[in-house]
Symmetry: C2
């Protein structure tokens, strides 16, 4: 700090940071949390001098019924509670604290992710697969939030487009992966929870995945954009959004494909289009590819919801009529990869098993990947990492 | 909910949302917070049955020394604490809760912003200026995060580019505003804290601001990108970053201009370039425009730090040598607008006053805008809203 005026600027603005100012003024200890040791141990710390009980909570700790697992933290010097884990395997982890029953994020860690309406902190333990989810010193693609017109839905809608490193300074045309989120998600989900741009940057740099565009639309047709990004303003996101599984999105999906193909330098044919999604996005991928049976050479169903089931006398929406017929046309037209991935403990395991039997009956070829675990982003990040290297070969 | 399988999907994934699951299982009340009434009253609520004292804290409440102001919330039914404000004037507000001395975000509000390392919740009260900070039903520009090569700094660095609505489907060339953050900020700051894309979308839709690109680079030359977005991984952001005010950024800034002008459809001349910034970004704008005295027709200094002051016998970095001489060249070359804005209670008020006197002595014309308030994003959003309509006329 050589220059007095810089120093003054620093000091005064420093004091304007509420939490920093508070700590500085009260002489409270500086908190480092989480602290990752080289051996994979992670130490969490939180300053809560007046608390009676502080717990660390995460879906990676042994679960407590339906709630994520938790462990008690120990109170130490100056009211700082802490907990150090055993060495953790490489992964992207989420966590929160529970202070006297109140669930909260870690004030020392500004790295957060939103899953539907729940915000948690994140950290990454290095190794495999964690390194794939990190920003590394590799060429980076461009990530754009862009609005497209949907003539079918009669509105402008927001989507996320990943263009691979080099796209802007090339004359080459690229293939496209359409990557769809699950229920409660939106055009942000694959970027934040799924680490899609990091996975693509890293796999492309390793030569494992071909440079491609990844288009991440919003699958909730009643929304223009993610909560907070559309004119409805800030509202609490909900898991179920109207009209997400009634055929409207599927029957208007080609609006997105047409937009991308007339606005980006891409190869606009079946052999250069892939579609994949998780849970509801897998459901959408199944039906969109079947309803446009000569449009996608690559289909990925990650922990997919499969079919709506007729309840009582309500007729199925027309989009879910004639499933076997359309699948048969898709089969006859041919495709390169129909990839189904599911975790052993996924609540959709049985539905996926029945769907595989249905495909077998139709003589429709697919590749099946069964993993450990259930209906989790941990699995979907792995599925994306395994799926993209198989595309456009 | 017509279809059983959809229902099952919904229910099971619903239970995977930790906080929702907890509430659902424990029969806790659904919390709506903040709740905005039409008259501008805002009600905050938080479930904390075991807490002894809960406060609402925000920089818009009467301050408590250097800490933001706070008010006590009242404990009501089922352990829900609440507080309702008087009608608040239109604005974007930040807040947090303090539960038995522990400062935390609002778990019912997933809309957050990070200022250096501090995360707070946000909400917007409608009217003026709040409506300008909202996403409205107007055409939206595209916001891209892109990496550019800096030959001068010898690295790839990340920046944010706003292209105006219609950019992609036009053959027109556009002017460019380079918009710089303050100390502790990065290429995200103007987008999140400054609501730059909303302000531009809205002012362009109202015909008040000409369509232009807004380029928001990272002014910390020791960083490739914002914390968490570069290969250093997740680390706690700090207010002072090395080498931010030593001339390195200023003397390499034209790398960014060259990148933009060779990668975007823009008008590449002085009359179509503006540069502006807040605090340290105002300091950068002052020196970059002076060191490139025939490059920018529009300069905006928002609550700017002005000059580094020599301390002891350390020589000033060469970039800050010959200030009067370079300003005189800038004056002689001519420019259309040199805009200085400062709040009456800004700790940099005196430095700005001295700078205005210095410009007067040099006979260098400027426009001065004095506002209420101090060194705050509230002022910087207003300054951006007032500055952009004057550009490229």
């Amino acid at each position: 700090m050589k220059y007095l005026s810089s120093l003054l600027v620093a000091f005064f603005i420093f004091l304007q940071q509420p939490s920093i100012a508070q700590q500085a003024l009260q002489g409270a200890p500086e908190i480092k949390s989480p602290e990752l040791a080289a051996d994979g141990r992670v130490t969490f710390r939180v300053l809560a001098p007046d608390a009676k009980e502080v717990k660390l909570s995460g879906e990676w700790l042994p679960p407590d019924g339906f709630a994520p697992g938790s462990v008690s933290m120990s109170k130490g010097d100056k009211g700082v509670w802490s907990y150090t884990t055993d060495p953790l395997p490489s992964e992207l982890y989420t966590y929160s604290f529970v202070i006297d029953g109140f669930r909260t994020t870690d004030p020392a860690n500004p790295f957060l992710q939103r899953d539907v309406a729940t915000v948690t902190n994140i950290f990454i333990v290095s190794g495999s697969p964690g390194d794939l989810y990190k920003v590394n010193k590799v060429p980076h693609g461009t990530v754009s939030k862009r609005w497209y017109p949907s003539p079918g839905l009669g509105m402008e809608r927001r989507l996320t487009v990943y263009t691979p490193p080099g796209y802007e300074n090339s004359k080459e045309k690229y293939p496209v992966l359409y990557l769809l989120h699950g229920a409660g998600g939106d055009e942000e989900a694959w970027m934040t929870l799924g680490r899609a741009s990091q996975i693509l940057d890293n796999l492309i740099a390793q030569g494992k995945t071909k440079p491609m565009l990844v288009v991440m639309p919003n699958g909730n047709v009643s929304q223009e954009a993610a909560p907070g990004e559309e004119s409805k303003g800030f509202y609490k996101p909900t898991f179920m959004v109207p009209k997400t599984m009634d055929g409207t999105y599927e029957t208007n999906f080609m609006d997105i494909v047409r937009f991308i193909e007339s606005n980006y330098r891409v190869k606009a044919d079946k052999s250069n289009r892939a579609i994949a999604g998780l849970s509801m996005g897998g459901f959408h991928s199944l039906h969109i590819s079947r309803l446009n049976p000569n449009s996608f050479d690559y289909v990925g169903l990650y922990s997919a919801a499969i079919l709506p089931r007729q309840q009582g006398s309500d007729p199925l929406p027309a989009a879910y009529d004639k499933i076997d017929e359309t699948l048969s046309v898709q089969k006859k037209n041919g495709y390169k990869l129909y990839w189904i991935a599911c975790g052993k403990t996924d609540f959709l395991y049985k539905a996926n098993q029945e769907f595989r039997e249905r495909l077998d009956k139709l003589g429709m070829k697919f590749t099946y990947r069964e993993s450990e675990g259930g209906h989790t982003w941990r699995n979907w990040r792995v599925y994306l990492s395994e799926f993209t290297p198989m595309l456009f070969r």
